[in-house]
Symmetry: C2
Subunit: 450 residues, 2 copies
């Protein structure tokens, strides 16, 4: 459904038709439509709540989770207490927590006061897990079964409580101390005899994570083992929640987006490109630009040291961009692959020397090709063997140094618990620029005897 049509129907008060059309849509698409409609000027908050109230209750509550926090705040402000309670009741607990995390304090207290004490307690617990931890993305709604139950008893329990849980097809088996001891699927139970004990059909080799594990590690684990939901246990091995595949996919996408931003020297934004204002964009880009610009002063200082040589052979200047550029590119190739390898948990800190040695050998190969090609080009263009030698030697030195710096900086960052992603292209380039110029001018001075 197009937003123009929806706006028209709303304007013309053809609400029955509008309701009919909206019902055809998926909750996620309704949310997108509402957000698009909010962009047009004549769509005020009154129309927003009217539109929302047109929707069948359940569909409305589902669509609510997909809305951006701006629209959610606007709606919560317009909701009656009853409406708010209905929406919160329909939401999965982890979605409620996500919403609460985005809201200003007064809205939070309104939401919390419309939940029952038990839910409130669970929400508060979830809110207390550190940002980016498994605990912060898990839901406490899952089915657990006692190990001594029979299949029949288990099914009764699932029927009683299961239907509202986010995942009922996989149940987690616990001991008397609520310790996670196994996993059993509805399928396993369907094919088993009704009097079989759960512990006799459960799988004991359960992959799990801990509440304080990094959420990125959780997503990688789920992806590695191809599992749709992973149990989360606390320090005493008691199961306290599960993380489901949809949240894991969101985590992967968010973490990748964050890495892309950091690697381009941008402070990661919370919102999408268009939802972030011009002002906000500038604010997230300026800090690194300033740092990098001012640190380029060092490179400038190095080149100013060689003014006497430049005065003798001004042509030296014309090779500066090429030498610096090649160094930067070589460095960023290495750093990017290594940052990515670490993000995918393929490269670990203990691999430091293995990585450095590998990059060293790769650098020699790259250096050989680049220096031969460019050396020959200079020789043919300028008919000056000494100059060609300077360029070839400078490239060898620059490529090797750049690849080593590109390999070592991200791993060093990881070692001191910084995010390796900040050691990407821009920072590497700034470091490598200085090295390249130093190498280039030193070689030029010695070979050309100036």
């Amino acid at each position: 459904m197009e937003k123009e049509l929806a706006l028209e129907l709303l304007e013309a008060k053809k609400l029955v038709q509008l309701r009919k059309d909206l019902q055809e849509l998926n909750p996620a698409d309704i949310a997108t439509l509402i957000e698009e409609m909010r962009e047009s000027e004549e769509f005020d908050e009154k129309k927003l709540i009217l539109l929302y109230r047109i929707l069948p209750k359940e569909l409305a509550a589902e669509a609510f989770t997909y809305l951006d926090s701006d629209t959610q705040i606007a709606l919560i402000g317009a909701f009656s207490d009853k409406e708010l309670r209905y929406v919160i009741d329909e939401l999965y607990l982890d979605d409620t927590v996500d919403i609460i995390e985005e809201m200003p304090a007064n809205v939070v207290s309104r939401i919390l006061s419309s939940t029952d004490p038990d839910t409130r307690k669970q929400i508060n617990e979830l809110l207390n897990y550190p940002k980016d931890s498994a605990g912060s993305v898990m839901t406490t709604e899952f089915v657990y079964l006692h190990r001594y139950l029979t299949v029949r008893e288990a099914f009764e329990q699932i029927r009683k409580i299961g239907l509202v849980k986010e995942t009922v097809y996989t149940c987690y088996v616990i001991s008397s101390h609520r310790r996670l001891v196994g996993r059993v699927t509805v399928l396993d139970m369907l094919v088993a005899d009704e009097d079989t004990k759960i512990e006799d059909i459960m799988e004991t080799n359960v992959i799990f994570v801990r509440t304080h594990d990094d959420k990125e590690h959780v997503a990688h684990t789920m992806s590695k083992y191809d599992i749709a939901a992973i149990p989360v246990v606390d320090n005493e091995d008691r199961i306290v929640g599960i993380v489901t595949f949809d949240d894991a996919m969101d985590v992967l996408q968010e973490e990748n987006t964050e890495d892309f931003a950091k690697m381009a020297a941008v402070v990661p934004a919370e919102d999408s490109y268009f939802k972030t204002s011009v002002w906000q964009h500038a604010k997230s880009r300026i800090p690194w630009l300033l740092v990098l610009m001012l640190s380029a002063t060092l490179t400038g200082w190095i080149s100013s040291r060689f003014e006497p040589q430049i005065a003798v052979i001004p042509m030296l200047v014309s090779f500066m961009p090429m030498v610096m550029g090649t160094g930067g590119n070589c460095g960023s190739q290495s750093s990017t692959l290594i940052i990515r390898g670490m993000a995918l948990e393929e490269i670990r800190l203990k691999d430091f020397f293995k990585v450095v040695f590998k990059e060293f050998r790769i650098a020699l190969l790259c250096a050989a090709v680049l220096s031969v090609v460019n050396g020959l080009r200079v020789l043919i263009t300028y008919k000056d063997p000494a100059l060609a030698l300077v360029i070839a030697l400078s490239l060898i030195g620059t490529v090797v140094i750049a690849k080593l710096v590109g390999a070592m900086l991200p791993m060093a960052a990881k070692a001191v618990h910084l995010d390796p992603a900040i050691m990407a292209n821009p920072l590497i380039t700034t470091v490598v620029d200085s090295c390249s110029l130093l190498i280039y001018f030193t070689i030029a001075t010695n070979v050309l005897g100036i």
Copy 2:
């Protein structure tokens, strides 16, 4: 289990103990262990097949899917026909296809000859879908139900065929022409009356993709709508397969890894960092380095045009790295955010002018801050208002041009069906370097009157 221990037990022929230890592991971990063991020199193919045969049959077949293609080829070579048939039978169809795609022709024909004609036909169909299409990552193993079945009949059908399917919990409802008309979950059926018709309880608003859709789009759609499996339909709207969340997660990770590589001017590799040889690494890095190095000749040529001015004021050289560096950083900030936005389907081609206008305003803000800061720095350091003016003006010009180029090139690439990711940092930097120097020296020449 550590590979040293496993090797020791194997060496000492303590196979019963080894089998017991291995059984404790998850199939994915067994695969990792085997790959690690293969790295040690004393572990030959004889030991590989011995180790594999120690494993319980089913666990062995499962572990097989997680192995890298090298190890798989080695194992297939050592398998008896019976062993091969067992493994292939146990595999999901999409995993078999993944394996076949990696194998040399003689191995492929051995695999195909050990499958039954029906499976062979399905494999061949899957192999015919274009690389990176939904068809190439889907599995043909799913449960479909006719719309006129009752719940009782449906359950009978599921019991008969369902247990071997990758996902039985969601069934797809088809019309008499095999057209996809709905979706029903086992839960829906469990709570419904046994005589209810499937079409009365099915959800008709089914999200689906087409066989030729890009697999990245499939993954984004699943992530957007939070669904664990998505049906794939052909040109006549008939359901031909499903894509499951685990494959979607792999697609997201692979595509992201590819984008990271491309954005660092590296030709994406098939394997992980360590599995790619030094030689291969060099081969995937040298082409872009050469292109970028040679195109930096243009930048060199521009700076050589200004040798007379440099001869008059040699200090001009010392600001070159800072101006070029800032330009490169500004450009790569914009290009990275826009490439990522397009990958996430947040930015579309029709947003071209919106993006360019937004980047223009962001550029003005960044330019203002950078030029004031650096202008003041130069003024204070060198007490030369004219030089400070040159630097400030150059930065304004450079930042604006860089951000516009960074915004436009990725979108232009997309418009001509190139991957926007190649328009990232390194290429942008090379383009922007030339622009920056041109701006810088032109302003210097005019303001300083040289």
